[in-house]
């Protein structure tokens, strides 16, 4: 079996009385593509933040490639080769597309090589026409794509994407899907999503969160037809 790239043991996050993540045991192997679904407030983003160091879990441990990273800071986790996209757009608005991606590339490469890498990603993501434009002036879908570029340019082996397709047009989603498949050739990926069509088109194994706990983890077809899942999630949503 492929190497374990991410594992959480008994991961728990409490905010006062709210248990946002409850005793989550989670395993992800190299080059796996996993979707996390669950109703609003199920604890998906909280799980994400605990894994990426944006929040420190109340209990439990996080391991990445066998190294315990529970109390690490985001920059330390990212430096391992983990690409992260948060739920809310997180980019440098007053800087150009090129500058944004260059800054991500520069973390892992010398300036000249960073220039080359940036150019390469810009071509791969078809951002050439807007490369000199400031992020703040771009349409939502373009910004999401640039943010994916920030993630991809670091050649990560683990990619965490919180709602990458939210608010995007069908065309943008299609492009996003292609990029994700490309990334998946070298990286394990976790995607948090609400868009069922998108999930069906992309995922094999799906993990369902509900009230901070893992409700079910199975192949996408079985998850979608499971009455319990339909009840807590699809029943409300669809």
């Amino acid at each position: 079996m492929a190497e374990l790239v991410l594992e959480t043991q008994g991961l728990t996050m409490r905010f006062g009385g709210v248990v946002a993540a409850n005793n989550v045991d989670f395993k992800l192997r190299a080059r796996e593509l996993r979707c996390l679904i669950g109703p609003n407030g199920a604890g998906k983003s909280t799980f994400f933040k605990c894994v990426t160091g944006l929040q420190t879990p109340t209990e439990g441990e996080v391991y990445m490639r066998g190294v315990e990273t529970t109390h690490w800071m985001p920059h330390q986790i990212a430096s391992l080769g983990v690409g992260i996209k948060t739920q809310t757009p997180n980019v440098m608005d007053s800087l150009s597309v090129f500058e944004n991606i260059w800054l991500a590339a520069r973390r892992f490469h010398e300036p000249q090589e960073a220039n080359r890498k940036t150019q390469e990603i810009i071509e791969r993501l078809a951002l050439g026409a807007i490369a000199r434009d400031d992020l703040g002036r771009l349409a939502h879908g373009e910004r999401q794509r640039v943010e994916l570029g920030l993630v991809a340019v670091g050649d990560p082996w683990l990619v965490l994407l919180d709602e990458p397709a939210a608010g995007m047009s069908a065309e943008d989603v299609e492009r996003m899907t292609a990029i994700i498949h490309e990334l998946n050739k070298t990286a394990a990926i976790i995607i948090v999503e609400h868009d069922m069509q998108f999930i069906r088109s992309i995922a094999e194994v799906v993990t369902v969160f509900h009230q901070g706990e893992v409700l079910m983890e199975d192949h996408v077809d079985r998850v979608m037809s499971d009455p319990m899942v339909r009840n807590v999630y699809l029943g409300k949503k669809a």
Partner: protein
């Protein structure tokens, strides 16, 4: 930034040379010297605030620390070269420690403002209370509210009897400002500078890309303090006395106003803002009809209301609109069309 660093160097040398030649025809070199010193002080805050997003309410603390370090070291050593170097290093190290405490402690911006303000106050109070004879460092008495007079002023390195004063001192200060301006330009062009701007724009994103934001902010903060320290030492040489007023909150507030009026996020703005407002203050000081601080306050309010980006960015925009190359080409056309679609759809 456009062009290359060597082009910038040529521009800076030319502008410095022209100003050194023209300005003394308009204003006396003694006054010009202090305007240059304030320009450097403005630049120090303009660097960390405008490009690093660190709003420091205590930039005067580093200015004062530089001045006092120079005065104390000059009295003890009887020459000026080592004191000048110390005047850069001591505030730099002090800021590195203070910055590390604040940034590694993950204090937010408001607390950062409060802490830098309080540190300035503490230094001011402390220095003010050192009038007694027990407050000596080596052979230098701190002198409390009277300050420290009578220290060795700038001399030719290696020759303590060859003083640099008057017009020569003006030239030294002008060249130093040009040099610091060039170093700041080089810094901003370097990866370090570009990363600092990234951090100003979005700290979370930069840390999610693997940058240690705390270390970088600490380093930038210390760099700004070192520049302020150099300005402090130059001020001490000009005034030939250092007093606790250098540490005053009023001084810190003025530096912030210089940056706002001149234009944040530019290198030139804070320098021009500082020199311009300091000159205005000098002119106003020669009359007794209107109060000085009132005018400064009024200018600040007017700028915040009508020209919030400051003078230099406003002039740059005006220049672009009137003479700049029109943003040509497909891309912008597309953008316009898409924006229209946005509005309609």
């Amino acid at each position: 930034m456009q062009g290359s660093l060597s082009q910038d160097a040529v521009k800076i040398i030319l502008v410095t040379a022209v100003l050194i030649w023209v300005m003394p025809l308009l204003i006396g070199t003694y006054t010009l010297t202090v305007l240059i010193v304030y320009g450097m002080l403005g630049l120090s805050l303009g660097l960390i605030w405008g490009f690093g997003g660190i709003l420091c309410f205590g930039q005067a603390a580093f200015f004062g620390l530089g001045a006092y370090t120079y005065a104390i070291a000059a009295i003890n050593l009887g020459e000026s070269t080592v004191p000048m170097i110390l005047a850069v290093l001591v505030p730099g190290l002090f800021a590195a420690l203070l910055g590390a405490m604040m940034f590694y402690g993950r204090l937010n911006d408001v607390y950062l403002g409060v802490i830098t303000l309080v540190v300035t106050l503490i230094l001011f109070k402390f220095i003010n209370s050192t009038a007694g004879p027990q407050y000596v460092i080596g052979t230098a008495r701190l002198g409390g509210f009277n300050g420290i007079p009578g220290f060795q002023t700038l001399n030719v390195p290696g020759d303590p009897d060859a003083y640099i004063w008057g017009d020569s001192y003006f030239y030294v200060c002008a060249v130093l400002l040009g040099l610091v301006f060039f170093l700041v330009t080089a810094l901003l062009r370097s990866s370090f500078g570009r990363i600092a701007v990234g951090i100003r724009e979005n700290e979370t994103r930069m840390s999610l890309m693997g940058y240690d934001v705390r270390a970088r902010k600490t380093l930038l903060f210390a760099t700004g303090a070192a520049i302020a320290g150099l300005a402090g030492a130059l001020f001490a040489n000009w005034a030939e006395i250092v007093t606790p007023n250098l540490f005053s909150l009023g001084q810190s507030a003025e530096i912030i106003i210089w940056c706002i009026v001149g234009g944040l996020g530019t290198r030139l703005g804070p320098v021009l803002g500082a020199a311009g407002l300091a000159y205005l203050k000098f002119l106003l000081g020669q009359q007794a009809v209107v109060d000085n601080t009132l005018i400064t306050g009024l200018i600040l309010v007017l700028f915040v209301l009508f020209l919030p980006k400051g003078v230099v960015p406003a002039l740059a925009d005006l220049w672009k609109v009137s003479f700049g190359r029109r943003p040509l080409g497909r891309i912008h056309q597309q953008r316009r069309m898409r924006n229209r679609e946005h509005r309609n759809g």
